[in-house]
């Protein structure tokens, strides 16, 4: 078992870190707008239609048109809003998505260069700490908008948070126990023989379900519920602020998929030379994002009480049982 790099005092030069963070940031930020149009096109295919195909070749320039439209809107704030919180909420949401990118490993150390932002020895905790922060963004948005719809959305997201964060943590705990490390690179290294999805299939399913809830995606998009809450916590937002929520949603989807790939689907592992590792990682992540979209095209939104009963009566006991069995097996073997 290799130690996390931070623990063996493997530190890169500052300029390398800066370049790496810029590359990861820009890379993912170029993927995210493409994801928005891919989602719309895929949802279209799932419904026997084309989706956007007018702007540019095959509609692939659609996000540019969307961004220009959103950026051209008036900056608007309701009278009842609390200005500081109202502005800081979307920033917080985006921030929590971006900062988790830092620990996503796109490859192992190659020629003295780690293909990840930073390898922290508390990777899992880091992920949970910052992904939970995004809920503060939603809560603040709902609270500070001064609108009942927003407030209801915020309340729902709070309830969703406490129902799912626990099972999500427990789902990852099984992997952490098998690996014996919280560092994400060690977690991937530990999957050299067999991907964690095989022994931890229940953990994977629970993590994915909790991931849908975490990213407010269908079937757990109660906080934004377009039909009943008119986008919930986003009701009072418009223009670039609204766009930043949209961006954050896709970013979080990418991050949660990335974490799922890291923990269960072998991370960067795949046939081919070492420089293909980031390609494998991004490819697996994107396929998981496609799965998110597939699920959205398939499942209807859960009712509030169904969500609660699924979270507390099914997923929590299952996750607990999962780590119980895992811990027994890990201890015995």
């Amino acid at each position: 078992m290799s130690l996390p790099l931070a623990e063996v005092n493997y530190v890169e030069a500052t300029w390398v870190m800066v370049v790496k963070s810029i590359v990861i940031f820009l890379g993912v930020f170029l993927i995210v707008p493409v994801l928005t149009v891919v989602e719309r096109k895929l949802i279209g295919r799932f419904q026997n239609r084309y989706g956007p195909n007018r702007v540019g070749p095959g509609g692939m320039v659609q996000p540019l048109a969307d961004i220009v439209k959103l950026a051209g809107k008036e900056q608007f704030m309701p009278d009842a809003a609390i200005p500081f919180l109202y502005v800081i909420a979307p920033i917080l949401v985006i921030f929590s998505g971006i900062i988790t990118l830092a620990i996503l490993p796109f490859g192992n150390v190659q020629d003295g260069l780690g293909l990840y932002g930073i390898d922290v020895s508390i990777g899992v905790l880091y992920f949970f700490a910052f992904s939970s922060l995004s809920f503060y963004g939603l809560l603040l948005a709902g609270w500070s908008s001064g609108s009942k719809y927003s407030f209801l959305g915020a309340m729902r997201s709070a309830a969703q948070l406490i129902s799912y964060e626990v099972s999500m943590g427990l789902a990852l705990l099984g992997v952490v126990m098998m690996t014996g490390s919280l560092s994400l690179t060690s977690v991937v290294d530990g999957q050299g023989e067999i991907w964690n999805i095989v022994p931890q299939i229940i953990g994977f399913l629970i993590f994915m379900i909790a991931g849908f809830a975490e990213t407010n995606r269908a079937p757990f998009d109660l906080p934004e519920a377009d039909a009943e809450l008119v986008q919930g916590f986003m009701t009072e937002y418009g223009g670039t602020k609204f766009g930043s929520y949209l961006l954050a949603e896709y970013l979080e989807m990418f991050v949660v998929s990335g974490i799922a790939v890291t923990f269960f689907l072998g991370g960067w592992m795949g046939p081919g030379p070492g420089w293909l590792d980031p390609v494998w990682m991004v490819g697996k992540t994107l396929s998981l994002v496609m799965f998110f979209i597939w699920i959205r095209a398939t499942l209807p939104r859960l009712r509030y009480d169904q969500l609660m009963s699924l979270g507390w009566k099914v997923m929590l006991p299952l996750a607990t049982l999962n780590i119980l069995v895992t811990s027994v097996i890990v201890t015995v073997s």
Partner: protein
């Protein structure tokens, strides 16, 4: 899963006025939550995923309208056409105004005039000097076609009739006599 009627358990003697065959009993699934509900939800989710993926394999059914056009049926009632005799080239319309009388929207205006024997316009005694249809009022009911004793006016197949101002929608006799520039695709027999 096959819908199964649980009529076997029912005590039919309690309902002498009911015929057993007429009764449909509702099958209820397990209550949400709990192990049974979760198991069922998981299975149904997989079934749903299969269903949506089937839609991907089927491919889109959208008709990309300006580029692709829907074919119309032969009896489709589109923009009107006025007709000439094919052999002599004379107009079939004799200016009787029966179409205008039949029109419920009152969108047809006919002004008849006597034919000059040297330069005949129509085959009859008179011809339509002015024949205008205001297509912004027309309801495409086809009564004009039915009323016409000479089959001079029929409903064509054109349906792309929008224009930038209302006066352009008043079609004159020349426009109605001319062949449409873009022919509307027509459905073949049995399609």
């Amino acid at each position: 899963m096959e819908a199964k009627l649980n009529t076997d358990k029912t005590d039919w003697s309690a309902f002498p006025y009911l015929n057993e065959d007429d009764v449909i009993s509702v099958q209820r699934g397990p209550k949400p939550g709990g192990v049974g509900g979760a198991y069922r939800a998981f299975g149904e989710t997989l079934r749903g995923l299969r269903t949506t993926f089937g839609r991907v394999l089927e491919g889109p059914v959208t008709i990309q309208y300006p580029e692709e056009k829907t074919a119309v049926y032969p009896r489709f009632r589109g923009r009107h056409k006025l007709h000439r005799f094919e052999d002599t080239g004379l107009e079939k319309c004799v200016g009787c105004s029966l179409c205008a009388a039949a029109c419920p929207a009152e969108c047809i205006r006919v002004v008849a005039a006597e034919n000059d024997p040297d330069h005949r316009v129509s085959a009859g005694e008179r011809y339509a000097e002015v024949y205008e249809i205001n297509l912004s009022r027309c309801i495409f009911c086809g009564y004009c076609e039915v009323a016409c004793p000479f089959d001079a006016i029929t409903m064509g197949h054109d349906y792309e009739l929008s224009d930038y101002n209302r006066s352009d929608l008043i079609f004159t006799k020349e426009m109605l006599l001319a062949e449409p520039i873009d022919r509307t695709p027509l459905r073949s027999e049995g399609e």
